[in-house]
Symmetry: C2
Subunit: 172 residues, 2 copies
């Protein structure tokens, strides 16, 4: 049986981490251009990330991959089109489908954004970095299991795959 106090300690720190990160994010956004409130893991950012992995997906494919409704997907894609980050074109083989492609600007934005190493990792020693990586691996796997078991059968396996793909690509 695990030590409850130690768990509570860690949980507290994790909650704190969540709150502080949120705060730090806000600060960062406040500094930069006013309109840029994209977190890269939500909404338009998610789309960009998915396309950076696999360009030329249909809206439906994007929706499925990212576990969004078709309507939300359409909304974000349209916003990205307005910003010239992606383009829409009707598929020739199946004219119901719309193919979404990154523009150069879009691709650059996606890779720029996702290749940043957070500053706060500079305060950790090599040993601590190893420990953290190891611990997060365990936690992430546990979360995947929780997601997988609790809800709709395999719908979320896809999201898991997107995340893992993204992480893999991130190292190249």
């Amino acid at each position: 049986m695990p030590n409850l106090l130690k768990q509570k300690n860690a949980a507290g720190k994790l909650i704190e981490f969540g709150m502080v990160r949120h705060l730090a994010d806000n600060v960062a956004h406040r500094d930069s251009d006013k309109g840029e409130r994209q977190s890269m893991f939500q909404g338009q950012g998610k789309i960009l990330l998915a396309l950076a992995q696999t360009d030329g997906l249909s809206q439906k494919e994007l929706a499925t991959k990212l576990d969004l409704t078709a309507q939300s997907t359409a909304e974000f894609v349209n916003k990205l089109v307005k910003k010239h980050y992606v383009t829409k074109e009707k598929s020739v083989t199946d004219r119901r489908m719309t193919i979404i492609r990154l523009t150069d600007l879009g691709r650059q934005t996606a890779t720029d954004e996702s290749s940043k190493i957070p500053n706060f990792l500079n305060v950790l020693t090599d040993e601590e970095l190893d420990q953290l990586t190891n611990i997060l691996t365990k936690i992430n796997n546990s979360l995947y299991e929780e997601i997988d078991s609790s809800d709709q059968p395999s719908l979320f396996k896809k999201s898991q795959q997107v995340i893992k793909d993204h992480i893999r690509d991130w190292f190249l």
Copy 2:
């Protein structure tokens, strides 16, 4: 100089952690009542948390503590009133002020929510829990510094204090 590869590994895991947590949160919310999309660290949840620490604050005090505009604060408070989580009453000493107080229902919701230990910590050993706590302490402090130095002078010190207070209360 820190090992860049190790940093990148850890950063990747951290990003993954962020994404997976987001996912897991969604799943959790989807299971429960449909209307309940509160993350406890945002909007209405933040207010509840602050009041659970110190009941009977004015709207202005809430806004300052939580680094929200007075307008956003008013919006969230009004929503909470509608849900019977808090009550509004004009202060007798200074009739410009509105005092916000938790109802029993509100207090219960706040404490219920914030006293949960995330399941995923069950997969860690005692040693790993210690390591994680230690690492997150360093990271959080680093983030506090970043926040503190980069932006408006001392506005964010208050937020830091709220978080720390919350964490402290969390152990009682």
